[in-house]
Amino acid sequence: MGLLSRKDSKLILDPLADDNPITIQVLGICSALAITAQLKASIVMAVSVLFVLGAGNVVISLIRNIIPSKIRIIVQLTVVAALVIIVDQVLKAFSYQLSKELGAFIGLIITNCIIMGRFEAFALGNGPWRSFLDGIGNALGYGVILIIVGFFRELLGSGTLLGFKVLGDPIAKTGLYSIGYENNGFMLLAPMALIVVGVIIWVQRTRNKALIED
């Protein structure tokens, strides 16, 4: 990280692992679970949150000195809602099918607690550049989990990644299917998202004992 000072690069790197918004801070879980049956949807969601959180953090940081503290929640919600409307309209314009599949979950970025959490905890007390880095870092930490969950669910559930056949052809029995693997349709159902995230948390805490809760 030659471009950034050590303190600044910490803002980006910390949320990727030891201060991950999903597995450690327990924020923004809803959307992380609901749209991960497909890798493509997970990536789109991660990019949307990256945009909203990065831009939102900068905006809030710029106006932090003129927001009356009593109405700051409403101001924050308005900023997020405006940014999410942009994302929603862009998605509708360029990838209508995908925006249909994500459905209400794009709108739910507004109430994604990572965003409110970062506004409250960071952007209200720091300058725009550092807020931007913090937003990007946390959105990346969120995106990483989303992509891991999406990867395993799509791979094991339908044998594809981003819609391409990876495990071979299930009907002609090539690739992994020739040695008897069957697509596990259960991975595509809602409960498995929770269990996959649970396993990710398990792995993470086994590797880093300091994170274990009592």
Binding site: C30, A34, Q38, L77, L188, P191, G198, R205, D214
Partner: protein, 250 residues
């Protein structure tokens, strides 16, 4: 009959927590004790029961395409639906604030016991999700919207009550250290979600006719997406099931 069906459907089949993962953050954060879980659950039922019908009215008379025609002929072509996020969240924030003021005035003890959780409801995705699903599922009447709001609230209440009770008991069991706390809560929720999936056949009773209808809908959906072999709507778990069945049959 319609009301009863929608009511049970929104409690069990489309349960906010187990089928669509809404309000997970507060579900995980507030479920350590049964007493706080009950308080938050009750507040969620209350706020959902108010905001869903209110937002239904907003959607019907202001936001939908052509909804402004009651103002006059020249407004009939307006489509303000892109504003729905901002309008919904404004309604919700206002209602939460109003509820807070009313509770503080009439029942200070309840107000103190709920504490920080009341304002937190404004950013609980279950609340906004209720309104957005109400919009995307095109619920036809105000009465049904109210039923839907109350039903989803009760479903959420049920989920947080159940997990809080389990978490109170699980403290005495020997969970692997790395799974303690958050990890095991996720896995229990997953298992509970598997259990709740079995409610899926509750209203159809395994009736083939209604299943047929769903499959057709999915096929249409797939057809529009050219040749991609699997399409998934993350929102409609019932579609998920049909697709999973298709995969198995392949």
């Amino acid at each position: 009959m319609e009301h009863i069906e929608l009511f049970f459907k929104s409690i069990f089949i489309d349960n906010m927590v187990f089928a669509t993962f809404l309000g997970m953050c507060s579900y995980l954060a507030v479920s350590k004790k049964v007493s706080t879980a009950v308080g938050l659950g009750a507040a969620v039922i209350f706020v959902l029961a108010i905001t869903v019908p209110l937002n239904w009215l907003l959607d019907q008379y202001i936001l939908q395409e052509g909804a402004l025609s009651w103002l006059g002929e020249e407004y009939a072509s307006y489509d303000l639906s892109f504003l729905s996020f901002i309008m919904f969240i404004a309604t919700i924030a206002t209602m939460v604030q109003l509820v807070e003021i009313v509770v503080e005035k009439f029942s200070p003890s309840l107000y103190n016991s709920l504490g920080i959780f009341l304002p937190l409801i404004a950013v609980n995705c279950a609340i906004l999700g209720g309104s957005l699903f109400m919009q995307s599922r095109e619920i036809p009447t105000l009465g049904l919207a109210t039923t839907y709001g109350i039903g989803s609230g009760i479903g959420w209440f049920l989920a947080i009550l159940a997990i809080a009770a389990i978490r109170e008991k699980i403290r005495y069991s020997n969970v692997p250290p790395a799974l303690r706390g958050l990890g095991i809560t996720f896995i229990i929720t997953g298992l509970m979600a598997i259990g709740f999936m079995s409610f899926g056949g509750m209203l159809t009773g395994g009736d083939e006719a209604s299943k047929e209808e769903k499959t057709v809908a999915v096929e249409k959906h797939e057809g529009s997406k050219e040749n991609e072999n699997i399409t998934l709507s993350a929102v409609e778990t019932s579609e998920d099931k049909v697709i999973a069945n298709n995969i198995k049959s392949k």
